[in-house]
Amino acid sequence: MNETTNLLIGIAMGLNLLALGSSRLPTLILAMSAQGVVLGLMPLLIVEPPDWRVLLVAVATVAGKGLVIPHLLRRAMRTAHIDREVEPFIGFVPSLLLGAGGTIAAVAVARTLPLLPEHSGSLLVPGSLASVLTGFVLLIGRAKAISQVCGYLILENGIYLFGLLLIHSTPLLVESGILLDVTVGVFIIGIIVDRIQRAFDSLDTRKLTALRE
């Protein structure tokens, strides 16, 4: 199964680069949600045969990350009448370079980490690290609130990917709790984004610097 999962992880890493390189917000959202869907399917491949709890997790993830959250974000984007990241703090080319470099570094670092034999050939760890890194680059480098939310979600995706290492041992309660928290968190972020849009009439975080020393 390693080949299939690795393929999927490879796609997710590619999506990372797409998210980093695109100036259009719809593309960013698409990349994020597609990554969410891809990762959501992964447990089905890893656990064989997929039992009901894995199925539940997969469905919830795909629904949450693939449908609900992108929908929320698209709505916010439409009300704010923006579809572009105009002046990012880290430009698109440097972002891409950072992302690519980060991915290579992730692969390199993952080699040095001691892994169980069944994980040794897998791209799980480098993929996870690459996503986390991409998430950070987006969080740090983008000015629009929506881009940052996407960045945060990609970061979460990376962690989710890492969590798959433990899928056999993590109890359902914990897993679903984590999932619920993430969903509620993103939901609340969505609400706040909406409020910010109404209060500031913009989603540009450059305007959110009234609180400073």
Binding site: F89, F136, L139, I140, G141, R142, A143, Q148, T205, R206, L208, T209, A210, L211, R212, E213
Partner: protein
Amino acid sequence: MTPGVPLLFSAACLLGGVVCGPRRARTWLALTLAGAAGALGAALLVLGGAPDWEWRHGFAVGGETLHFRLDGLSALFLALLGLVAGTGAIYAQEYWPEAHYPASAPGGRSWWCGLVLGMGLVLVSANGLHFLIAWELFTVCAFFLITLDRQRREVRKAGWLYLAASHAGTVCLFAFFATLAARTGSWEIGPLRGRLDCAPLFWLALAGFGVKAGLFPLHIWLPAAHAGAPSHVSAILSAVAVKMGVYGLIRFSGWLPAPAAAGWVVTGLGAVSALFGIAFALAQNDLKRLLAYCTVENVGIILTGLGAAMLGAAHGDAPWGRLALAGALLHVWNHGAVKALLFFGAGSVLHATGTREMSRLGGLWRAMPWTASLFALGAVAIAGLPPLNGFVSEWLVCLGLFDAATRPGPSAWAATPAAMVLAVAGALALATFAKAAAIVFLGAARTRSAEHAHECGALMRGPMLALAALCLALGLAPVWFWPAIARAAGAWNPAWAGREPPAPLAILGPLQGMLALLAVAAAAGLWWKSRANGWRRGLTWDCGYAHPSARMQYTSGSFAGIAAGWFGWLLRPERRIRRPRGPLPAAASWMERVPETVLERVLGPAGRALLRLSSAARRLQHGRVQAYILYVVAGLLAVGTLVLLGGMP
């Protein structure tokens, strides 16, 4: 009677004073006086020969059971505390009455009791934790007393400076007591002369207590606080609160083994304080600032004595060390009494004229004969002139130093320069107080407010008279007070216990008495003779000036000019001069301000550098969330690096 009874009574009265202070002025006065009398009584019991009072109780405060101890040394300071607390309370009735200060007088009464209580507890605490509690209690009470007149900006600034400096000292004491506790395994404090590993802690104590004691260059808070505080507060600050720092130094230099260099350093710091303190005092124009700097000088004298005593103790308990220690201890009393008297006098002047600037005063003796003569007495005493008390203690200290200088050995190398410095400081003190007393009280009034001054009332005069009487007694009959001093010296170093006074002190007393008697007789005789010869009043001749005006008089700045010029490198006076120019010159002026050099030239720039650093750090908090997340990542990397580096053996 055990000293515990009056002490407990005193504590109860003072607590009552704290509670009823804001509402009932008369009850408060009665309680404070009773409390002060109780403290004084307990102290005199111990000093008079009762055994040390030690009291433990299982009741725990802050996790430590109560443990109090009143030995000779703490009793010495406690007596001074009782004296000044009582006289100051009476003085405040007239000086800071409710009628004039409705906002601050009620609070001031409570803080006063709190201050006295705090200092009393410092003196009797035998537990480091409780010592610190009491220390901070009195520090905070003193802060609120200094800022009683908090509507004035300068007072607020002075108060903050005091608080900040005190806290810096307290932080050193935190370290001191915590290390002591860490090394001994208990918060209890007591004689630990055998614990040689505790010797380096003395440096922490020196820094911590030195701030409170106003040791140069840690004295930065002292002038502004003393000048800005109401005069009764200045009096207790200078006479007692500053002495708490001295108490701490004496106490822990006696209980802990001192490092080898400690005696040298304390002597040196004391001498430096004495010299520089009085140099600053001489250059002041503000009467209360002058007195404050003079406090630095006197603390310097005390510490010179203490340093010599430490040297003596380190060199086989040499007898000259005992002399110097006795002088230092006696000087604690002498300076306390005299400085309280002088601050009361300065307060009386301030009360009558509304200004502390000497260049706006003059000729006050006519309106305020009591204040003038009592201040003059205080001036003679503080300048260390015979036959008053200041001389006795300075003489003892100097005698100790001279004795040390005449013995061959390394301590002579410390004692000789110290003796010379003390002599110079004495001469400067004479100049300072000749100036202070003369510019304020003699000659002609320089301003209208000085012209229309009035004498203070009985409630202010009474405390001054009492203190002046004490100064006389201490000066004329030092032998009476010797047992107390001997007791305290014995508490410091058991090898120096013993009640018999040193031989020369027995002679000095009658000598001083005779001198006083003769001086009075000669003064009376000359007065009588002049009157008998017939006198007439005329304008000051002044080599024939027809219209001497008050503005032609020598001012405090011109008086101090010569000697202050020698210390110009230290004092760095700021002058704004408009010289007369041309044949028909416009108005000319000369303004001079003597800044607090250490504060304004050293700590000021350091503080500004710190603030620049702070504003640089604050710029990092600029409101962009992206950067904040970068900080998180940076934190992650930093912790990771730390872990990786630590992982490598």
